[in-house]
Amino acid sequence: MWTWFYRLASPPYVYGLATALTPWLLAGAGLAIAAGLVGGLVFAPPDYQQGDAFRIIYVHVPGAFLSLMVYCIMAVAGAIGLIWRIKMGHAVAVASAPVGASFTLIALVTGSLWGKPMWGTYWAWDPRLTSELILLFLYVGVMSLRSAFEDSQRGDRAAALLAIVGVINVPIIHFSVQWWNSLHQGPTIAKIGAPSMPGSMLWPLLAMLLGFALFYGAVLCMRLRGEVLNRERQSTWVREAVRS
């Protein structure tokens, strides 16, 4: 029953899996993002208050969601590597970090572009904006800690530990709009009761969320392949794979 799980610790299996999954994930991401973009930019009605400017939500919200999700995946993968000493856990964490940092940057940039017409300013020292910025710093800290070690195994483990410590920031970001009086608007989808958004606005957003998640999966698989090859460069299966 658990063999599929145990096999995930084996580098050749992970390499093969990532190779096989990449085109499917890419195709799925392309379809979902295309559908979401058309639905969001063409079919969704303009917001009664924000007009057409609200449409940046279709990039902003998936970016912000993925920035948190990727951080959690990175921390969990790092914990798996740290606790059970599974090298593939560290490989997933290493491959995820720059992707997550990019999503955080996307969320921050689109958010500030959205803030200019709505709030009249690109940046406000608001709990959610500040905690998202801290998330970016945490990604940078994890990446630079890992690269500071000459011994890559030690770097992996140190970075994993830092990622786990930083998880404390994730609930702070998520709940910041409810805990503090924030300029940022409250949750519209992930709340108890019906989403406060009409269906024609909602489905493109969900499609974009799915598309971004699939895109992350595809990029993760591609980066993971490079990471596995680099880590296993001394082993015979890599030499055979490269030769063939």
């Binding site: 500040t130 940078v140 800290g141 530990l161 830092l162 786990i164 404390i168």
Partner: protein, 258 residues
């Protein structure tokens, strides 16, 4: 190295015990290690404090740094005294965080360089105890000293004397929390040659909530409104880090030591 590191550790290598237990780190106090957990912690703290007081310049430097930074702001901004009071909490807290960070690099570094840390780890006492003792000693010579100096800076920043008690208690909580957070950063970077900048990069993002709550507590103390809310949050952060950070830091030390 200073003589204190060679002598007077008290919890030095208990070779007979270490040989029998798991090499590396013994989790539980080995039987016959001589001193109990609290005895070992007290000995390590005493050693740390003695080492610090033998090099007074290391004690004074962060405090002078704190004073200089707080002087820089009024000079650079050339504000009226009344406007200065509005800026004071932020300036005070920013300077306190930075000057506490300055000495964090030394928390485990010198002991790791001359091998004392490995001997302590082999002593049969848990690494967590060692981390707790060293961090508390570090806070006493940096954070607590900073709290004692803060009224001087506060007067220069035109903070009224009625706010001193609240300001000092919030600073005490904040610097202790920062010492715990810093112990994680220092333990993670102990094996690195140039870990100093990296510590700031790791610790400062985690310390941002401290700055927010600490400055808002000080601000409320100045304006005379109730500072209970941010003070409770600071206390909560302090309790959280006191209970969890030693485990994270000792796990980080294990990574760095093996």
């Amino acid at each position: 190295m200073t003589p204190g590191s060679a002598q007077g550790t008290g919890v030095g290598p208990a070779r007979g015990d270490a040989a029998g237990s798991v090499p590396g780190v013994a989790e539980s106090p080995a039987p016959g290690a001589g001193v109990g957990t609290f005895g070992a912690a007290a000995l390590i703290m005493r050693r740390e404090l003695r080492l610090s007081f033998r090099r007074p310049e290391h004690l004074v430097q962060p405090l002078v740094f704190f004073l200089i930074i707080t002087t820089l702001f009024p000079l650079g901004l050339s504000l009226q005294l009344s406007q200065l009071r509005d800026m004071a909490p932020g300036v005070l807290w920013g300077a306190a965080l930075l000057s506490s960070l300055l000495s964090l690099d030394a928390l485990f570094k010198s002991d790791a360089d001359d091998g004392t840390l490995e001997q302590l780890a082999l002593s049969g006492q848990g690494l967590t105890v060692i981390v707790i003792a060293k961090t508390l000693a570090h806070w006493l010579v940096t954070g607590a000293a900073l709290v004692l100096v803060s009224p001087l800076v506060a007067t220069a920043l035109d903070i009224p004397a009625s706010a001193f008690a609240l300001m000092m208690s919030s600073l005490a909580l904040g610097t202790l929390t920062l010492s715990w957070l810093g112990s994680i950063g220092a333990a993670l970077t102990v094996g690195l040659k140039r870990g100093n900048v990296l510590i700031s990069l790791i610790v400062l993002p985690l310390a941002m909530p401290l700055l927010i709550f600490g400055a808002s507590a000080t601000e409320r103390a100045i304006s005379g409104t109730s500072a209970a809310g941010p003070l409770y949050l600071l206390t909560a952060l302090c309790v959280l880090t006191t209970t969890l950070a030693p485990f994270a830091a000792s796990a980080a030390l294990k990574i760095s030591l093996d």
